[in-house]
Amino acid sequence: MPVVAPETHLLLAIAIPFTGALLIPLFHRQPNLREAVTLTTAAVLAVTVWSLLPQVLAGARPEARLADVMPGLTIAFAVEPLGLLFALVASSLWIVNSIYSIGYMRANQEPRQTSFYVCFAVAIGATMGLAFSKNLFTLFLFYELLTLSTYPLVTHKANDEAIRGGRIYLLLLIGSSMLLLLPAIAATWYIAGTLDFKLGGILPAGLDATLIAGLLALYVFGTGKAAVMPLHFWLPAAMVAPTPVSALLHAVAVVKAGVFTVLKVIVFVFGVDTLASTGAAGWLVWAAGGTVLLASLIALRQDNLKKRLAYSTVSQLSYVVLAAAILTPVSVVGAALHIAAHAVSKITLFFAAGAIYTAAHKTHVSELDGIGWRMPWTMSAFAIGALAMIGLPPTAGFLGKWFMLSGATQTGQWLPVAVIVASTALNAAYFLPIVFRAFFAEPVRAHAAGAAASHDDDHGEAPWPMVLALSLTAAATVLLFLAPDTALSLAKLMLEPVTR
């Protein structure tokens, strides 16, 4: 190892994306150099984050303190296994996403690409800060920064629809975090006298169960990014964004930040045991389970591919929340794994949707008949992603579900088991037809008789950076199933007290 102290490593991991954001505009007029800066920053970041892994596996927990804002409120960071897992996923996917972005943004001749890459880098920086936050205040700070930095990305197209979508996005996320999450944090500070994350929770013993349940509700619904119904509207609304942004929202950063926050709060603020013994999280099983099923039912009815994916995300996110609400160590491990698994598989699906849009200008499921033979790489990757959504081997989606199910069955909680089984069927019902259409349905040339239509059908794969990116993430989806050791050991370490 180089002589850089782990603390410095940690601060570097947060500083690197922000530095990238400062450097990118300098190359405003040289797009190739500008993209090189993005890719280099992403690569350096990934190396930095990965180099934290051996230390954490060996039991080290580097910490760093940036500033004392007010007595009791500090901006401080700590590497903890769950946060590291999230940071690993996000930083690795940033590289792939950047490769994809370059292909997508250029092929679609999107305007204002410099500000796009700047906001992207800031969003990743915010994600790193959030993943490594040592206390609730730091987490909240970067949570808001993430919302604000992704807002210009959501509204990137700057047409009326984008502005409307941006409004919903901003108001719902800022609104829920200001009105619910911030009071929850303030109340925690008031009750517990600290905001530092601690395994087993920081709330004093003997609190009223109703109070705990209420506080938990403030946290869960205050974290609008976790998209537990009825706070899921922003996700479909944000679909107006360019596809790489959708991938960022759905896979890399935003929604993952949401479920990460919920999981973190359940494990490190409330404590799994406290919640289990008071029964204060009983309602959450219903709320999350309801979201899983309802979102799947809505997804079933969407013809717009990205919308269907969006509702699938809503449903998959609530798997994580549900797994956390089952409140067994095994299910919490499942929740952590599912964050990683859903990230790599959902990004594949979005990449595929964007590739279809770029190459074929098609956005609806009903238009995809026979497209699999023209875009074999893309649609194969899509198929792998779809399998992961359903939760079938050999994909990563299987892992999380397996742990969730064993957690629920071990403790005899049959409601979550029923939800998971039912939703698996639903997932299959809205993903398999897409794969089937793509490969086995006859292309519908007949009814699209116009000249433009025949041009539309005359296409191959999307530009190679996009195909490369989606192939990589599809491979990762399978790889995570075949070699889950790293993710699994991090997820398990999360629940173990620090040894040194």
């Binding site: 804002v69 007010m70 808001e144 700057a158 941006g166 409004r167 108001l171 009105l179 009071p183 303030a186």
Partner: protein, 497 residues
């Protein structure tokens, strides 16, 4: 040097006063500006020295002309006044480099020297109010600052500026009259004009002569509330801010209402709070109700304005509501929140009005519809606007969050948690009125006005950027803002009966 150091309090008044006199003799606008700039840059040095001395050795008492108080006029600098002195002088120092081009653009050549004269007089008045320990002396300086403010506002390009100035003149005069009636009543009861002395004499007198004392409190509070634009005594403010020259608006928004709040704090805590128990009168309840009303009504009005200067003016009214809310909470965290918001709001609002000034400088209009696409043309200017806007919302990492956190803790401490929600709901309304401007500025195609615009010259840009940076800095390091505000609050609460 040590000889001079003793006279620091009086220098806060004498330097700008002499500057104003010299300025009035100058004909050339640029010369007058240079003089005003020099004065504005000396003042924060003195103010910070004073603050340092107060932090080290406690309150400073200065006898004007060597006459001992309570007969002579005493200048008294304690932590609160030193804090406000720094605030006012720093805002002045930040604005002056910006002022030259903006004033040259908005005000005719032969009137520019007058503008700087009035600015310096206004500065004299504001600093005098803060530094003096004499209730009648406050009135004198209040009039100096008010009269010069009327002129500053009337110098606006638009003819409606005259009407706005006239309106403020009427309201301001009523306020000043109320104030002087209140001081007169206090003098009748106590026979003294020195604030510390009044408080001491009021204590035994209060019980039997409560009615005139209460009347004095009422007159003083209403008079000062007119000056600080506490809802519903705010009607003069939006017009005055909207039509005054950009530099005047930025300066007044950052300082004038803040100094009026300072007077309110002095009255409530240093005079009446010491003499009468805080809970014999419903001061707290009245202030809280009016503050919450201001926060909501003004913020909602801001949402429907189409003139961005007015949007910010209404936002100011709402933000003043936060400050008075902190006073009404009357506990250490709440009061800390109110006092630190004096400072934080001065930073962010001055930066915001300066960014609007820069837009006026480039495109000559500030109507929302005309700002379409301006963000792409003047990215740095609008970046300042966004940072200021985020601070208004109270996003963590900006100064606005610090204020709101303390206010929320203050409300929690009182057990009034619904108040926490009210504070946060108004923050959300700020998202809407700031967001409206941001949407138009960035996501609409550039309008005819914005098409050729670009960021203003460095002399205008740097001060705004500095204030925007300070807005973020004081959201992360609060050693110089909230920590001092907390000491002030502890001092004020500790002095209560």
């Amino acid at each position: 040097m040590s000889k001079l150091a003793e006279h620091l309090p009086i220098l806060q008044v004498v330097v700008p006063l002499l500057g104003a006199l010299l300025c009035a003799l100058l004909r050339r606008g640029t010369l007058a500006w240079a003089l005003a700039l020099a004065v504005s840059w000396i003042m924060p040095v003195i103010a910070i020295l004073l603050l340092q001395r107060v932090l080290d050795g406690g309150a400073i008492s200065y006898r004007l002309g060597g006459w001992a108080p309570p007969w002579g006029i005493e200048y008294r600098v304690d932590l609160l006044s030193a804090f406000v002195l720094v605030l006012v002088t720093v805002v002045g120092a930040a604005i002056m480099p910006f002022a030259r081009r903006s004033v040259a653009h908005e005000i005719e050549g032969d009137k520019q020297a007058w503008f700087y004269t009035m600015y310096l007089l206004c500065l004299t008045g504001l600093l005098g109010i803060t530094v003096t320990g004499d209730a009648f002396n406050i009135f004198v300086f209040l009039e100096i600052s008010s009269l010069s403010t009327y002129v500053l506002i009337a110098m606006g390009k638009d003819r409606r500026a005259l009407l706005a100035a006239y309106q403020y003149l009427i309201v301001g005069t009523i306020g000043a009259t109320f104030y002087v009636i209140g001081v007169g009543l206090l003098y009748l009861v106590t026979g003294s004009l020195n604030i510390v002395d009044i408080a001491a004499r009021l204590a035994p007198a209060a019980a039997e002569t409560s009615r005139p004392v209460f009347a004095a409190l009422a007159f003083l509070t209403v008079g000062v509330s007119l000056k600080l634009a506490l809802f519903p005594l705010h009607v003069w403010l939006p017009g005055a801010y909207a039509h005054a020259p950009s530099v005047a608006t930025a300066f007044l928004a950052g300082t004038a209402t803040k100094v009026a709040v300072y007077v309110l704090l002095r009255l409530i805590f240093s005079i009446f709070g010491v003499a009468i128990a805080f809970d014999t009168l419903p001061v707290s309840e009245v202030l809280l109700t009016l503050s919450v009303a201001a926060m909501f009504i003004a913020s909602i009005l801001a949402v429907f304005e189409t003139d961005v200067k007015r949007v910010l003016a209404y936002s100011s009214l709402g933000q003043i509501g936060y400050i008075t809310l902190g006073i009404g909470l009357a506990n250490v965290p709440g009061l800390t929140g109110g006092i630190v918001h004096l400072f934080n709001h001065a930073l962010m609002k001055t930066a915001l009005f300066m960014s609007l000034g820069a837009i006026v400088y480039r495109i000559g209009t500030i109507k929302l519809a005309d700002l379409a696409g301006i963000g792409r043309q003047m990215p740095l200017t609008m970046a300042v606007f966004v940072v200021g806007g985020l601070a208004l919302v109270g996003v963590p990492g900006t100064a606005g969050f610090v204020s709101k956190w303390y206010l929320a803790v203050g409300a929690f401490d009182r057990g009034w948690w619904p108040l926490v929600f009210l504070i946060l709901v108004t923050s959300l309304i700020a998202v809407v009125y700031v967001g409206r401007v941001v949407e138009v500025a960035w996501f609409r195609e550039p309008s005819g006005f914005a098409a050729g615009a670009k960021d203003p010259p460095l002399s205008m840009l740097l001060p705004m950027l500095a204030l925007a940076a300070a807005t973020i800095y004081f959201g992360i390091d609060t050693e110089a803002s909230a920590a001092i505000a907390r000491r002030v609050a502890e001092g004020l609460i500790g002095g209560l009966k």
